[in-house]
Subunit: 411 residues, 2 copies
């Protein structure tokens, strides 16, 4: 099957936002053996959208559209597809219930009811993260999938509804396995993977991703079992060559892998953050089971609170400053002590845009990991804007924790 991805939205056309949906969808489609022939972006404009639909209809089996499902008059995607496929819009009772429960008593603006008018005979996909349901139109041997634009709504819909739908349609099975690595760059990892990257079936492709990287192993065969059989040996070679960098497989995140490890080891953790200001705690708690291991987090942004909450010594702050190896050490040890946890994490640095000095430039960050009273501190010199520096520091301290847990508990 071939597909075209159409993004509808003046905000993309004006360059206010990047069309990340297209990348996500293109990659996901490739994963189920559907080739994207074209990506198009048009504004909220019926004539141009009709033109785009018509052109996609002529060259591809599948049209995936994102955006323009909102309640306002300029949201016309669903209406335009209905017009193109000559289907009347009919109120969908189930979607109506969902929407009304979503608003729970709050007053519902009349325009919202526009969102539950669906093309006759389409497959309605419940949107659990927004008010606009998605839908799939099957007509004339063509498939049109109409999805909301916000990634928080579109991604789960695509994962849970659209991909399974296409998997059912496809005759040959395609199975992908992702190995997630941290602590090694894409190019170095690719070199070590070497000849595996030239494989035809399964294919092995490296992807860089915010301080991490992953290998996707993709196999095609009659059934999923055959695919697994093809993937297994290649996966094992990658583990042999790069095992120490692999923190998990498929959907798992670094924080989930680390938290799961901590819980399995029966350990507990607390955080003391300055420049990251809560991002480390927020990421760890992102793991649903976090409460089993996460005790406390302290955002000690001021010197006072470093002393008051974490027991950092006044002298240390005076002698070495808040952004120093010594302060980072006392912070991670201190938070573990007061929270009575096995593990303490700390961050302190200059995130900018101001506050940099020749000795302590913007981007200088110290991260600390204390395990059972033993502290490890690392000095980072990070590039980028305030947000980039804080996000990277957050990732680095979680990486350092993983590394030290492996060392201290041999794996």
């Amino acid at each position: 099957m071939t597909a075209e991805i159409i993004a509808v939205g003046t905000e993309i056309l004006l360059g206010d936002i990047v069309n990340t949906n297209a990348q996500y969808i293109a990659r996901a489609l490739a994963g189920v053996g559907i080739a994207s022939l074209r990506q198009t972006v048009v504004g909220d404009n019926e004539e141009r959208l009709l033109e785009a639909i018509d052109s996609a209809y002529k060259q591809s089996d599948v049209i995936i559209a994102t955006g323009g499902l909102g309640p306002t008059a300029d949201d016309i995607t669903k209406e335009t597809f209905a017009k193109f496929f000559d289907l009347p819009l009919i109120e969908d009772a189930h979607s109506k219930e969902l929407m009304e429960s979503y608003f729970k008593g709050r007053e519902i603006a009349p325009s919202n009811y526009k969102q539950i008018m669906m093309p006759e005979g389409c497959i309605v996909l419940d949107n659990h993260n927004g008010t606009a349901p998605a839908c799939i139109i099957e007509k004339d041997g063509k498939i049109a999938v109409i999805l909301p634009g916000p990634p928080k709504e579109m991604y789960p819909l695509f994962e849970d509804e659209v991909l399974p739908y296409f998997k059912r349609k496809q005759s040959t099975a395609i199975v992908s396995k992702e190995l997630k690595l941290v602590g090694i760059g894409e190019s170095s990892a690719a070199e070590i993977a070497g000849e595996l990257l030239n494989g035809e079936n399964p294919t092995v492709a490296p992807y860089a991703k915010e301080g991490e990287m992953l290998f996707r192993i993709t196999a095609r065969a009659e059934g999923e079992e055959e695919c697994e059989k093809l993937i297994e040996p290649v996966k094992n070679i990658l583990y042999e060559r790069l095992g120490k960098y692999i923190y998990g497989e498929d959907k798992i995140t670094l924080e989930a892998a680390v938290m799961r490890d901590i819980i399995n080891k029966g350990l507990t953790v607390a955080t003391a953050e300055s420049c990251t200001g809560g991002m480390v705690a927020a990421r760890l708690i992102n793991y649903p089971g976090a409460s089993e291991a996460f005790a406390d987090g302290v955002v000690s942004y001021s010197n006072e609170s470093k002393v008051k909450f974490l027991g950092v010594k006044k002298e240390t702050l005076e002698k070495y400053g808040a952004v120093s190896e010594e302060t980072a050490r006392e912070m991670c040890l201190g938070v573990a002590a007061i929270s009575n946890t096995d593990i303490g994490l700390s961050t302190t640095g200059v995130a900018g845009p101001t506050g940099g000095t020749p000795e302590k430039p913007i981007g200088l960050v110290y991260i600390g990991v204390a395990i059972r009273g033993k502290a490890f501190v690392k000095r980072l010199e990070l590039k980028g804007n305030r947000d980039k520096i804080r996000t990277t520091a957050t990732a680095k301290v979680i990486q350092l924790l993983r590394e030290k847990l492996k060392e201290e508990y041999n794996g």
Copy 2:
């Protein structure tokens, strides 16, 4: 003038990289009064590229193409444009010099000479960050700009050569002004804006964005001043009708607006988070000046730490539970007291995916704002997955803070 942006590259089509060039170019074009009608991505495939060029040629004055200028055989963008415009490719002497000086004595692979073959009569643009020169073709009253794909090469070429070229051509300017609202839905706000949304010049368009919404007012005129004159009255009407929801203009974020307000009022703030686990602190500290007002943040995920760090009463937790109005109240009052700040914020709730009960379902969150010993607590019933519930709760408590600051300090 109208434009279409064509990105050429199988790696974009497969979703291996995001088409950030299109965003950059679209925004830059808008800045010089050129409206983008469409963005297209095609692979390194002559037939489909010709199709895309033809379609763009028919509907737009300007075609901007990126990618496919490299030395390898699958780089066909320049060749395909030359074919479409029926122009022979001729070796460009100046580009040849540049390339040879670029390689500085190093051996030049023959394939590189392909890059200096330029469409006859085009304007050649020197690429100081790569080996592939860019070019502008002017023919049949149409303009085709052909640029390399790597942003490091494309951005400077666009800044230094392409934008000045269009500025010389353009007479009209375009200016946009954004009003950012919170505490009201897109649909309700759109209804109140009413007839303004039908305006031609300036246009007014509503956009929803993660629990917030914005109106973009866009005007076209001779010069930027004329644009401002057109925008002003419409902007004023929106302030009259929706002023209490407008927290800022253009690039400012909600947290920046609130933190700026807090700093201007000479107040200080501390946070006590349970279910949001640091996200509130992280967002507030996102504001570069945060250190002036942000004292401490506590992530009291466990009951013990709610008692230990925040002075929440054991009896309160036993009688009402951690997720309750009473606990939220004691948390925000408690953190302000121990941190000795004017303002305390708190969140406590059930983020899921497990832990929900009939009385306390997933999505039940209490948020608290304490100002000078006076506490305001709000009960939320949020939908969506764990991440969505936490992000929304974070936005809601910052919104509640803004609201209460307005009430307590009349604006």
